[in-house]
């Protein structure tokens, strides 16, 4: 979900994405790319190459409309989950 969210804000390339996501959660670099691959194969992302003058061309990830839908869903699920967890914590603290 976090990956989808990050890319929905702006298009990013691999390394950028790792940076952004690491700000939120501590994640193994190795799992980012396979995850991107999976999401791309399932048509949540589009990719395009951008020529760079400092090195080889970079692959940028762009979220699709399908991806956007999925993102909205995922955020809903997360919100519901967070609400239940918070409720549970509050109840436990009361006792």
């Amino acid at each position: 979900m976090i990956v989808l969210l990050a890319v929905s804000n702006r298009d990013m390339y691999g390394y950028e994405l790792i940076e952004e996501v690491s700000k939120v959660v501590d994640i193994n670099d190795g799992t980012i790319y396979p995850l991107l691959k999976r999401l791309t194969n399932e048509k949540y992302f589009d990719t395009y190459l951008v020529e760079s003058n400092e090195g080889p061309s970079r692959k940028y990830y762009h979220i699709t409309s399908l991806g956007q839908e999925k993102l909205v869903e995922a955020i809903e699920v997360w919100k519901v989950f967070a609400k239940s967890v918070n409720k549970f914590i509050k109840e436990s603290e009361k006792k």
């Binding site: 670099d29 190795g30 799992t31 691959k37 194969n41 090195g55 080889p56 692959k59």
Partner: protein, 472 residues
């Protein structure tokens, strides 16, 4: 790990993907590593952050819904082999349970399908299967008895029966397991067949094929059973057929490869001995070529068998052709060499000889087994000079040789003269075999009649008068 090495390994592990996709992924990872380096990390660190490369590959491939176990199956090393065997045994046990249930279900379902034809089909198949098992028994029996006698002779200190007994037990167990698994596989295929309603034509085919190929290897029979089934694809029984192939490998190794290796060693020793003899001047080129051809032939055979067992390689024909040519030339030369031997019905010139002599006096007739008689009138009457010449070798000689006379032992018999002797041999030792003398014999290609060593030449000298006393 350095960047290039990492990327190369990654590419190898992703070989199942298309070139384009692979390039895509490798480029992306290269970019990510470059970026990290730009931001101050070393190559090592950048690569390490990706974690375990195998896990990484599994994750990437899972995006394509590929079974990550797929590629790995091909590489099985010796240590994996044991693990595989254990798995097979477990799977085998499971399969057995499953199959029994399936059979029962199938029978219930197809109860009405039991026509006379299918019954005959079943009976025939069972008979053929039993015959096949009996034939399979033979190599196992050979292996069992060979192994047990080998163990019996070498385990004398532990207890002569133990080694052989254990070996026999092992071979029996393997045999039984093989039979059961074959039975399982065949029954499973058969029941699958019943489900797919096969036609009668199939009945004739397996029977005919089985009768012809009963003596062929187990591999082919199982394959033919597969082939002779219908258009419906029989669900490949992965686990049990794997068990079968593993056991077949063990079987073929024991029964075929190991004896071949021993014969190969024998051919090699023949080669060495013939080179030694040639070096010493004995013209045994023919035998040398024979041994070379044997080595090449066996080497190629062992190579084919081992490559068939572990992975299918192309079969090379040329070693067989070469070895055949060498064999023909070699055998011709060998025959020529052996024809070069001449036989002499006498002893060689350089054999040693000695003579003993004795003069005896006699008034009566005496029997002497002489070879030559010389009338020497300088001899006195009733006196006979006996000369005995005998031949001997260094290793094979006479001892206690004497000329004796014996009184007659019956009423109408004569006195007789006999040369008594003892035979002595020098102890034979292996070094003798390779002394120059033996090599000389091979070189000269002359064979003498050494039986003549047992002959003693007796010459007697008598005068005119006494001559008549000597009887033959």
């Amino acid at each position: 790990m350095m960047k290039d090495k990492f990327l190369k390994e990654l590419e190898k592990k992703l070989s199942i993907l298309t070139e384009l996709e692979k390039k895509d992924i490798i480029d992306e990872y290269r970019d990510i590593i470059e970026e990290k380096i730009k931001h101050g990390k070393t190559e090592e660190e950048a690569v390490k952050e990706f974690g375990n490369i195998d896990k990484l590959t599994d994750e990437i491939l899972s995006a394509y819904k590929i079974n990550p176990e797929f590629n790995k199956k091909k590489e099985s090393s010796a240590s994996d082999f044991v693990g595989e065997c254990e798995d097979f045994i477990k799977k085998g046990a499971n399969k057995l349970a499953e199959v029994t249930e399936e059979i029962v279900d199938n029978f219930k379902k197809n109860g009405k399908d039991f026509t006379l034809e299918s019954v005959f089909e079943l009976v025939l198949k069972v008979i053929i299967f039993l015959l096949f098992l009996a034939v399979l028994r033979i190599p196992f029996a050979i292996v069992a008895s060979l192994g047990s006698s080998l163990f019996d002779s070498s385990f004398i200190f532990i207890g002569s029966g133990v080694g052989g007994f254990i070996w026999k037990l092992l071979t029996e167990i393997i045999y039984i397991v093989v039979c059961i698994l074959l039975f399982v596989v065949i029954v499973k295929k058969w029941t699958d067949n019943k489900v797919s309603n096969q036609s009668n034509v199939e009945k004739a085919e397996p029977v005919a094929k089985k009768k012809e190929t009963k003596t062929s290897t187990t591999d082919e029979i199982i394959n033919e059973k597969k082939d002779s089934k219908t258009n419906k694809k029989v669900p490949t029984n992965h686990a049990s057929s794997q068990i079968i192939t593993t056991l077949l490998r063990i079987f073929i190794i024991f029964v075929m490869v190991i004896p071949l290796v021993f014969v190969y060693i024998a051919a090699l020793s023949g080669l060495i001995i013939s080179i030694y003899l040639i070096f010493k001047g004995v013209y045994v080129v023919g035998i040398l070529l024979l041994c070379i051809s044997a080595c090449i032939f066996l080497g190629a055979l062992i190579d084919i068998l081992s490559s068939k067992l572990f992975n299918g390689k192309r079969i090379r024909i040329y070693p067989f052709i070469i070895s055949f040519i060498l064999f023909v030339i070699g055998s011709l030369l060998t025959v020529e060499y052996f024809l070069g031997f001449t036989y002499y019905n006498k002893l060689p010139e350089d054999v040693l000889s000695e003579t003993i002599e004795k003069t005896i006096e006699t008034n009566e007739a005496i029997v002497i087994d002489y070879d030559k008689i010389v009338i020497d009138n300088t001899m006195e009457n009733n006196k006979i000079k006996v000369e005995a010449r005998y031949y001997y070798l260094e290793e094979y000689y006479y001892e206690n040789i004497e000329i004796n006379t014996f009184e007659p032992d019956c009423d109408n018999c004569y006195k007789h003269l006999v040369v008594d002797y003892d035979r002595a041999y020098q102890k034979f030792n292996l070094k003798e075999l390779f002394t120059d003398k033996f090599v000389e014999i091979l070189k000269e290609q002359k064979i003498y009649n050494y039986e003549k060593l047992n002959d003693i030449d007796i010459t007697i000298y008598v005068n005119e008068n006494t001559k008549d006393l000597v009887k033959d």
